[in-house]
């Protein structure tokens, strides 16, 4: 589609949906300065035109359901069963107000309660909060609890450093910084494993916590993870496990088993709630008994007869978001776990890891591709590949290859900055895709790599069959030309 902007489709007087007229007199209590005088310059469209516009935009999108979505490594793009959406759309959930009397919401409270218990077992932790709105929010909540924990012990002034690794999600560093900690980042050793010597050098009486992903975004599992935890514990610090990459280890190993004090899950990754263009997601924080008093409030409790919300938690960090969490996604995650059970979860993990290692074998057969670090070792949930050789030999970069893949009906993203692995590409097949899917994906990459060697210009100027062509990124960095809204565009670019 060559679909215009919504604003360009406006036609004066059109209405999309009509509003009930008040059956009572209008109210004119607003004083002059608080009354809107000029109507907002929203576009005016008929309902069909609004619908058509967004349907066309939807078709200009890929997603887990539409393509072989293994290219968003670290994101765990797994299939979200459609039946779970049915629960979410049920008015018995969709039309529940969060402040209703507890007697009228026993069903949803029971689901939250049961989900917490299941995640306790999956992580080994003593309590789990389901309030955070997403994975990074859960990381932040963990940091807030760490802060509250040391504040309660009077150690907060002393312990103002947090240690993380470069292959842990950037939010570990950023949340810690936001919460007031200094951040120390460890780089990998020569084999790509987290560097234990660097940890020893960094740790000390100022250490509040270690925030670490495992397996890291490289797909490498840290075999000395217990030692890492012990070193930090010995220095009086806490250890928080970023479980964004938990999908490959469900039922295999648990946060608590390695000694962690806190952990988090991304329910939209590991537990299949849909990614929704970038949220709403849902996060879960698991903690040991020692940290439990600091959990966000309220918690959901059961007195043997009735479920209720417990707000009487004086040491709690308070609210992380409004009310109790992204409840629709809690219901989806609950249903997903219930449909699989213990055996199914473990099977999902094993299939995901098998898929990952199978795809690794196929990708490494492609000229110009490599998987730096941990030579000859298996990976868990994803692999961070490198096109460094190809880039050197052809001048084609990893972005170009990703864009060109779009011409074949799929795509990948490069990876989080900084590019410690040069020319990176991170693939994570999850358990949702079949061998035929992986073969097709690898074949597309192989074809693009061939083009890079034989007709590099085709790749460098890609995409050719997408909705639009190569975007002028520079205009988005320049305050003179960036346009975050239509009104800004009209003013700055169109001069209106």
């Amino acid at each position: 589609w060559d679909e215009p902007l919504l604003f360009e489709l406006s036609s004066p007087g059109e209405r999309g949906v009509l509003v009930p007229e008040p059956g009572v007199p209008l109210d004119d209590s607003l004083p002059e300065g608080l009354r809107r005088t000029t109507p907002p310059a929203l576009p005016e469209l008929s309902q069909l035109h609004v619908l058509r516009h967004y349907l066309r935009l939807s078709q200009e999108n890929l997603g887990v359901d539409l393509n072989i979505d293994v290219g968003q490594g670290t994101c765990t793009m797994k299939y979200s069963p459609k039946v779970n959406d049915r629960f979410v759309r049920d008015p018995k959930l969709a039309e529940l107000h969060p402040l209703q009397d507890e007697r009228t919401v026993q069903g949803v409270l029971e689901i939250i309660y049961r989900l917490e218990r299941m995640l306790r077992e999956i992580s080994g932790m003593d309590r789990v909060s389901l309030q955070p709105g997403a994975g990074s929010a859960a990381i932040y909540a963990n940091v807030a609890m760490i802060r509250a924990y040391f504040a309660a012990r009077g150690e907060l002034e002393q312990r103002d450093e947090v240690i993380t690794t470069i292959f842990s999600h950037p939010s570990n560093a950023a949340c810690a910084k936001t919460a007031g900690f200094k951040v120390i980042t460890l780089y990998p050793d020569a084999d790509g494993y987290p560097d234990i010597e660097a940890l020893k050098a960094a740790v000390g009486p100022r250490t509040a916590a270690l925030l670490i992903t495992n397996p890291e975004d490289t797909g490498i599992f840290n075999p000395r993870i217990e030692e890492f935890v012990r070193i930090v514990h010995d220095a009086g610090g806490l250890c928080a496990y970023d479980q964004a990459n938990a999908n490959g280890i469900l039922g295999i190993t648990r946060a608590r088993d390695a000694g962690f004090d806190l952990c988090h899950f991304n329910l939209h990754k590991t537990f299949s709630t849909p990614h929704a263009c970038g949220g709403p997601a849902a996060g879960a924080c698991g903690v040991t008994e020692a940290l439990a008093p600091f959990l966000p409030k309220p918690t959901v409790e059961f007195d043997g007869t009735r479920y209720h919300l417990d707000d009487d938690r004086p040491e709690s960090v308070g609210k992380i978001r409004p009310f109790y969490g992204v409840v629709p996604n809690l219901v989806r995650a609950y249903a997903w776990i219930m449909s699989l059970g213990a055996e199914g979860l473990r099977e999902a993990a094993e299939v995901a890891v098998l898929n990952n290692n199978y795809l690794m074998k196929k990708v490494l057969e492609i000229r110009g591709a490599s998987a730096p670090y941990a030579e000859g070792r298996r990976r868990i949930e994803q692999v961070r590949y490198s096109w460094a050789t190809l880039a050197e030999e052809t001048g084609v970069h990893t972005e170009d290859i990703g864009y060109r893949a779009a011409d074949f009906g799929t795509h990948y993203w490069t990876s989080h900055h900084p590019f410690v692995v040069p020319e990176p590409m991170t693939l994570e097949p999850t358990e949702s895709y079949s061998r035929a899917d992986l073969d097709e994906y690898a074949a597309i990459l192989a074809e693009v790599a061939r083009e890079a060697y034989e007709e590099p210009e085709t790749v460098r100027t890609a995409p050719h069959r997408s909705t639009v062509h190569r975007i002028r990124q520079d205009t988005l960095e320049d305050p003179e030309t960036w346009a975050v809204t239509w009104r800004a565009y009209r003013r700055k670019i169109l001069g209106q």
Binding site: P20, R36, L55, L93, S136, A276, C277, G278, R378, V468
Partner: protein, 436 residues
């Protein structure tokens, strides 16, 4: 496939996981419901234990609002393509970028501001971040909160600004309004980064002093940050119109279902000044030319601000938040248009006024601050024998959800465009029996 990768079993893949931390027993979880029919039956039975606002007459608001959600909104956002996309490039996910940029643009028109973020988690986060932005922009420490705030939001903001700011809650004055003298005094004490107010406040009051606060803040070199309910902006002036530097709030009222309080999105808006733009932690999508003349492309504006780009050197952090809820709000605004937004604001204000008047007539019921302009929420005080909580219990027996209890005597009630005159009359009649 094992053979194809030269592995004897999946155990090989876990060679790096030491035996000492291997779980060598099955997880202790409930038995699986493998068939979809059984799962539907199980979850359906749980959900059937809820009574929702479609089954009762609800007067709950207090930060989560029941509005009519147009069917087209649900149709669009339930599309697989939107529901299951994520972080693709603006080429194969052009539609997602355009839809979110259009959301930003629609909010921009509503707010009369040129810069709007891809939604943050929720309104709590938006207020908290807006205040930290103000702190970074001004380099100052103190934050003044001058209108009645949701205690939950206060809890969140307090936790969030704590490392770098002092939060000063300025007690309110008469009639539910801001106490301007107290604000002046705090400003005079210096080092104020921002004056924060809400329109409407937590108690539903649109404080006539809001424009005056802008002058006070600016004179003191502080920024003026205003939280607002976006669905009010067809009739209530947008914060920018009375001097706000940053507007923020929650998009939940714009086409999002109640979902037990689970669907939110935080908007933050500013004018198009680099010093403001540079302090956003959120993604900001921008419209850009492409290699082909006349094509619209989209991408990230000033990406180097973000923690995605520079980790802890970025502004706060950014991650998966509430993008689809932004698209929802965009579809909603596209359907409503300028006329729809004006009409819905009028209907809600008219219903609110009628409810205030009607309930104030009931013996044993008072409406504090009744004369102030209200939007949707309003305080009800029970002066009879029963507490607000007891009144709520008695209403529940009649199939009515009363307002959120604020104190033994007070509760916060709410009406929107989904209420008819008959609904409000029914509440009044019930209270007549209960509240004496």
């Amino acid at each position: 496939m094992l053979a194809a990768v030269g592995a004897a079993s999946t155990e090989e893949f876990y060679a790096d996981v030491p035996e000492s931390i291997r779980l060598r027993r099955p997880l202790d979880l409930p038995a699986a419901l493998r068939s979809e029919a059984e799962l539907v039956r199980h979850v359906g039975a749980l959900l059937a234990r809820n009574t929702g606002t479609e089954d009762a007459l609800s007067f709950l608001g207090a930060g989560c609002y029941r509005h009519h959600v147009p069917a087209v909104v649900d149709e669009v956002i339930n599309r697989s393509e939107f529901l299951t996309a994520y972080a693709g490039e603006p080429y194969e996910d052009h539609g997602r970028f355009q839809a979110l940029w259009e959301y930003q643009s629609l909010m921009g028109e509503l707010l009369e501001m040129d810069v709007v973020n891809v939604p943050a988690y929720d309104g709590f986060q938006a207020s908290a971040t807006a205040l930290r932005m103000a702190g970074r922009i001004t380099g100052r420490r103190r934050l003044l909160l001058v209108t009645a705030l949701d205690p939950d939001k206060l809890s969140k903001v307090d936790d969030y600004v704590r490392p770098v700011h002092d939060l000063v809650v300025v007690p309110g004055g008469a009639g539910g309004r801001a106490d301007l003298d107290a604000v002046r005094a705090e400003l005079a004490a210096g080092d104020v980064a921002a004056v924060y107010a809400e329109a409407p406040s937590y108690l539903g009051i649109v404080d006539p002093a809001l424009p005056e606060l802008a002058g006070l803040a600016h004179e003191a070199g502080a920024l003026y940050v205003v939280g607002c309910n976006p669905i009010s902006l067809g009739v209530v002036a947008p914060p920018a119109a009375y001097g706000a530097d940053i507007a923020c709030g929650d998009i939940q009222p714009l086409g999002l279902h109640l979902a037990y309080g689970g669907l939110n999105g935080g908007f933050i808006a500013t004018h198009d000044e680099e010093r403001f733009v540079a302090e956003f932690p959120s993604r900001l999508f921008g419209l850009a030319p492409t290699a082909v003349e006349g094509e619209y492309g989209f991408g990230d504006v000033a990406y180097e601000r973000t923690s995605f780009a520079v980790r802890e050197e970025g502004k706060e952090w950014v991650g998966t938040a509430a993008a689809l809820n932004g698209i929802t709000a965009g579809v909603y605004l596209a359907l409503m248009g300028p006329q729809g937004m004006r009409e819905i604001g009028q209907t809600i204000m008219a219903n609110t006024r009628y409810a205030i008047r009607r309930l104030a007539e009931v013996p044993g019921v008072e409406v504090p601050y009744a004369d102030a302009p209200h939007f949707a929420d309003f305080t009800v005080r029970f002066t009879g024998a029963r507490t607000a909580a007891e009144v709520g219990d008695a209403l529940l027996e009649r199939g009515i959800f009363g307002g959120r209890v604020l104190s033994p005597a007070d509760a916060l009630y709410c009406v929107t465009e989904v209420h008819g005159k008959d609904d409000i009359d029914r509440l009044a009649t019930a209270l007549q029996e209960i509240a004496k």
